[in-house]
Assembly symmetry: C2
């Protein structure tokens, strides 16, 4: 991407003074924004979505120039981005996500009276969000991390990804205008630009930053985790980093529908030129004729795949290095697409004996790009051993008939402990934005396996619990008042209800 | 405490081989225990409580010898411990805590069919729990951390606190017998003994440990946080460490009921010889006659307080050093109780100009023991500045009349950002075990301000989210099956319901 070497005069690298000013404004805005109700936050998110839609033509054009992603993909991603903003707006407006809990008092309890206790989730304060290279809209300036952090009431300071500064500036202006029009403090949102790592590290080290959202490489994510953990006041980092998304094609499924699985798998690992976090990088297929036919089919599809531009020269170069590493570590390249120039991503299928994969963990490292590694096994104990010892992953996929499933109990149990999402007879790419989605998983898939960066659960990341003891109704947030004026679902004395509380003695 | 120098022949320090064996068994038990239903986990917790009650006489006697805590306190703590176990048993049995979410499929959606997605909380795996010195029962071998980790389906490996090894062994045997009687794997629970820090560090470093629970000093907690963050696969640490629990006595409240507040405050900071995490260590009182009278009252109460044995010689010595530090840093000791020998904790009241406190942050460090520091101020801007810049705390307390509250908006807003629990017209000691309790707060109060170590929210700490995509009903956990056989509260397509799902096409 030619523009990546210099941001150019329109988007100069933010100066330390600009960074400091943005953080000072964010810290100042934190208390007032935290006190805004869910309707105000929801309205802000809807304004942001509307402004992005108004500017869609310019945003898509600029993103196309900066990322080489096709227009249809970018239009789809813009729609998804606005959908995410509106989904979090709904969450904020409805309000039950704060997990309000009320334990009513008992002044007559012996030996000690029971106090009135009411708790809910509250925002953390200014959050640093890092734009991702591979989703210039949906995981960038106004992406899911920003939407969930704002929905929860946190000011956001975005570090734009240097691969798409112009897109980031356009979206940043759309957000800034929404903040202005909503009459919120200027510190509610800022976008900063740089070409290296210093600005991001400075954000994570700054005591005014209270949480971090990141999508990117394992190395960069780990560096941010380590910085945040080393602070005087450590803060949570929600980093989504690295995943090989293993696929297990079980015997009966292979026999019943090998060609269809191969076709679906090919579409999945080449989707977006393999630049999705959920791209399937390792596929377990049994040895023997059926498995051979599956690999041949996959090879033929890969060989016929046109090379395509990758997001940045750095990503293209890392992809070539990853493929070279697989070869050096003993994987056989069974097919690749027509070679293009050095900037293009060429689809490839590699094959290895699954026992070699178990013996050489470096073969199981993520190769970010349009390739997959087929691991051939003779005994089901081998993929089971892999599942038990593999690093954390965003997803694992099983292709299984009923008879396969009946025999796969141990495999499923092992995978349940190592991934965020288990898929049956589907493909891992295509992450639905909904309430039940988990785009998470143990390290190194994410820094915090308890969370998800896609779906409405993501709003919980940038919050903490706060309890009020014996506060009068008038001094409580609306979410915790007796009358339940927001009509949210609350746990009252252990029961989840939407009813108001009859006036108590407190 | 004489026994602390050597565990003695009954409770020898666990050998590396014993530690390794316990971890191997825990790792083996993790998958099967995770698959046990909530009723099995609930029954285990109830058996543990019953066994502790059966052994109450011996446990209380031994704990009295090891901790010097009075019998009535220990009997109360034993009852609380069993209450906690049964509360988590109820949570496990009822089952809704897993936060089950179901988004139903739509095979006809264009351009892509919508998959069937179902998610819930699942256990992490073996958890290392560190017994606390100051609660030999309620925060120790079978305390809240253990109860919540087991309730969520995690095997537990406890490192007993060396200040009460005999108590830990008795309670450990009660838990072990419950595990046996329930027919669960021996790896479900283990208790290990040591006299130093090596065993604990080894546990936190071990890749088989997937999470850590700790209550203790800031230094030890931070060391565990740093070890866990430096692992190849970092794991969450839930450490509850350090808190000065500031109290703000506002003007009208001081005028209306100064003597009662002083009496309550004295009872709170001397409760348990000041060895509670929520002991109020700093009290803001205005300058002038009413404030002087308040301090005199507090001083008279402290002077009349008998010295009392502390938990260990190390804690007594750290308390004396903390008081010495306050004096050296410029605080005036306005009163102390009758001096005892070096092993006893002597109540004390210190006083300082609040502006000096702001200028010397080391005055605001926790002194673990029966003292409090009164910070005198002339302008309300001074306590507000403290609230805005103070480190994270478990609690903050306001004493306020209605007129005070009306003027305290900024103070409350600042405190909301720095504590886990805000108390009005009460005292911070006495932590109710219930659904709405938050015994948490930003660092250094805890390592993870999003969580609580007391109350039912604590069960969420040792879990993560897992999503199943397009799994048939028979392969799903009961919590996610169409029929909702456990009748739990679930979010189905965004609505919280207990109803079953009509059979779908998946």
């Amino acid at each position: 991407m030619p523009g990546s070497a210099s941001l150019g005069p329109e988007h100069p690298v933010s100066t330390p003074a600009q960074v400091d000013a943005a953080l000072a404004r964010a810290a100042e805005a934190a208390i007032s924004f935290a006190r805004q109700g869910g309707r105000v936050r929801g309205a802000l998110l809807r304004r942001i979505a509307a402004n992005i839609e108004s500017g869609a033509e310019a945003i898509v054009e600029r993103a196309g120039l900066e990322t080489a992603l096709p227009e249809a993909r970018l239009r789809g991603e813009l729609a998804r981005t606005c959908g995410q903003l509106r989904l979090f707006a709904e969450m904020a407006e409805e309000g039950s996500w704060v997990d309000a809990r009320i334990d009513l008092p008992d002044p007559h309890r012996a030996p000690m009276p029971k106090p009135d206790l009411r708790s809910m989730r509250r925002p953390l304060g200014p959050i640093a969000i890092f734009g991702a290279s591979n989703f210039p809209l949906a995981f960038s300036v106004a992406g899911g991390d920003t939407a969930s952090a704002l929905a929860a009431g946190n000011p956001v300071v975005v570090k734009a990804h240097p691969a798409h500064p112009g897109t980031s500036a356009l979206v940043g202006a759309a957000v800034g205008k929404a903040v202005d029009d909503a009459g919120l403090g200027a510190g509610t949102f800022a976008v900063l630009f740089d070409e290296g790592i210093e600005l991001g590290l400075a954000l994570v080290r700054d005591p005014r930053i209270k949480g971090v959202g990141f999508t990117g490489s394992r190395r960069a994510g780990r560096a941010l985790m380590d910085e945040a953990a080393a602070r005087r006041e450590p803060v949570p980092v929600f980093a989504e980093m690295s995943s090989v998304n293993p696929v297990f094609v079980l015997a009966a499924a292979l026999a019943a529908r090998g060609p269809q699985i191969a076709a679906g798998l090919h579409a999945s690992f080449t989707a977006g030129v393999g630049q999705f976090c959920t791209s399937p990088g390792i596929v377990f297929v049994e040895s023997g004729a059926a498995g051979d036919a599956f690999v041949s089919r996959l090879a033929a599809l890969a060989a016929a795949t046109p090379a395509a531009p990758m997001l940045t020269p750095g990503i293209a170069s890392a992809y070539r290095a990853g493929a070279e590493h697989l070869r050096a570590a003993g994987a056989r390249e069974v097919a690749h697409g027509a070679s293009g120039d050095g900037e293009l991503g060429v689809a490839a299928v590699f094959e290895v004996d699954a026992e070699e994969l178990l013996a050489s963990p470096s073969l199981a490292e993520e190769v970010f790009g349009p390739s997959t590694l087929v691991a051939r096994y003779a005994a089901a104990a081998v993929p089971l051993a892999f599942a038990r010892t593999m690093e954390g992953n965003l997803t694992a996929t099983l292709h299984a008939e009923e008879s396969d499933l009946a025999a796969a109990g141990e495999l499923i149990a092992a995978l349940e402990g190592r991934v965020g999402r288990l898929i049956l007879n589907g493909f891992p790419t295509g992450v639905e934005v909904c309430h039940a989605m988990v785009h998470g998983g143990p390290y190194p898939a994410t820094s915090d396996g308890a969370s998800t960066s896609v779906g409405t659960h993501a709003i919980e990341r940038f919050t903490r619990l706060l309890c009020y003891q014996d506060f009068p109704d008038t001094a409580l947030p609306k979410e915790l008042q007796d009358a339940n004026p927001l009509a949210i679902l609350r746990m009252v004395d252990g029961r989840w209800v939407r009813e108001a509380i009859a006036t108590t003695t407190h």
